[in-house]
Point group: C2
Chain length 249, copies 2
Amino acid sequence: MSRFPETNAVQRLIDTLSLSDQVRHYLLDALTSGRLRPGDRINEAELARTLGISRNPVREAVSGLAQRGFLVSAPRRGHFLRRFTPQDVDDVFSFRICVESFAIRQALPRMRQPDHDDLARLVERMIAAARAGRLAELHQADMALHRRICELSGNRQTLRAHEGIDTEVQMLIAYVDLEREPPLQSALAHLPIVEALASGDVERSVAAMQHHLETTWAFVHRMYGRSGRGEPLVDAGDASPSQVRRTRG
Amino acid sequence: MSRFPETNAVQRLIDTLSLSDQVRHYLLDALTSGRLRPGDRINEAELARTLGISRNPVREAVSGLAQRGFLVSAPRRGHFLRRFTPQDVDDVFSFRICVESFAIRQALPRMRQPDHDDLARLVERMIAAARAGRLAELHQADMALHRRICELSGNRQTLRAHEGIDTEVQMLIAYVDLEREPPLQSALAHLPIVEALASGDVERSVAAMQHHLETTWAFVHRMYGRSGRGEPLVDAGDASPSQVRRTRG
DNA sequence: AAACTGTCCACTGTCTGCAGTTTATGTTTT
DNA sequence: AAAACATAAACTGCAGACAGTGGACAGTTT
């Protein structure tokens, strides 16, 4: 089939071309970057016009994101970015602790020196970025670290679940002016995890991870706790208070 | 708004109308029932003709299922039902143990007497179905029980994750003539879980659940272990050995 | 003034059609 | 006869168009 050695790489690039895929990434970026805010409606026709394409690829992307729970859809009315309640924060972070702890348990026995070095380098990058005030890079390395651990677990289910959680977390913090941990502190918070992993102590590693995630959780929770003690900021989709339903599998 | 009490039910029926949704359910059923077998191709046009609709709703459904990982897509070549390796079995079941254990931890403190009664009734139904040889009902109650526990956790992330796992498990066992646990034994295996929950002992409940899932895991694993010790039966999508890629978020 | 009814507009859900690829078939060449 | 090639069929990806529904607004009624 492929006579040219570089065909695979080229092929992959070409594959990425599918318009639906591009739209999906475009939308995911809009969601996680805060350009799209909770409750916002997604206008298929307008988006298609903006991107200079037809509505079909747009619909496929949007429909997929709805199936995955990142958008809520109201039949015949459109798709909306979810709204988040304090409970959503708790659900996401408690589940995240569950998943990433499990990832560590599966990853650690499989890790070799190069893997540990990898993680160490990521933390160094975080610290350097924090010192230099490059917040975007800090954030990026942060995500990469957590993701890497899930990859190292070798468990595709875990990795897949983490991807979903990761997206949710980014959506949660995207549109609030988050009262964040100080950058350097945030970067340093990952040191104990990587060190514990390097020592080979599973329980210590899990504990370190849990502690770190609980700290982050607390920061995010504080934001959502403000506008109403436990009461829903707005329940998913105020656009149609009674019958908005999440597209389910 | 609604003066008529049954309006909600009616509304739900009307909402269900979307063709994409219907196709999605149709396909999910085909996947989990074994009517579609791993490696099988999904022919959009043919499916559309069969259902008497156009290709658009079909594409939306298929695309969504691919994004959720239930299908693999090969650009310009089509969508295929995943193939499964022994590792997939291990990944799914180990992760399932992680998720359902977590569900119990969150659910138990929230459970009230009616909830315990609910679960007890489900187990009774399983036992009755097993004794009567109604395997379909047994299987259905089994799934309902596990799902109910995730619901009782009150954690939407957990429930969502469980839905994905549940689908994967059904796909895993759908097309193999599974060497199953004897029906009655399978039904009775759930008793310790529900009893432990009723006693309020979290650790005992978790242990019971883990034991049960490990037993099931072993049965499924045995099937996949046969055709090659650890070697992939076939890796995802032999249709295009080199460049099948999973549609990712 | 408040509630109700009817009309208009925007948008979703779906269909048909077309272009470019991939796969299958048949033919030629060695 | 097997392999390579050429041609035809089939399918995916995308575009454009249409019908039906929901929502907003204005006019009307009580």
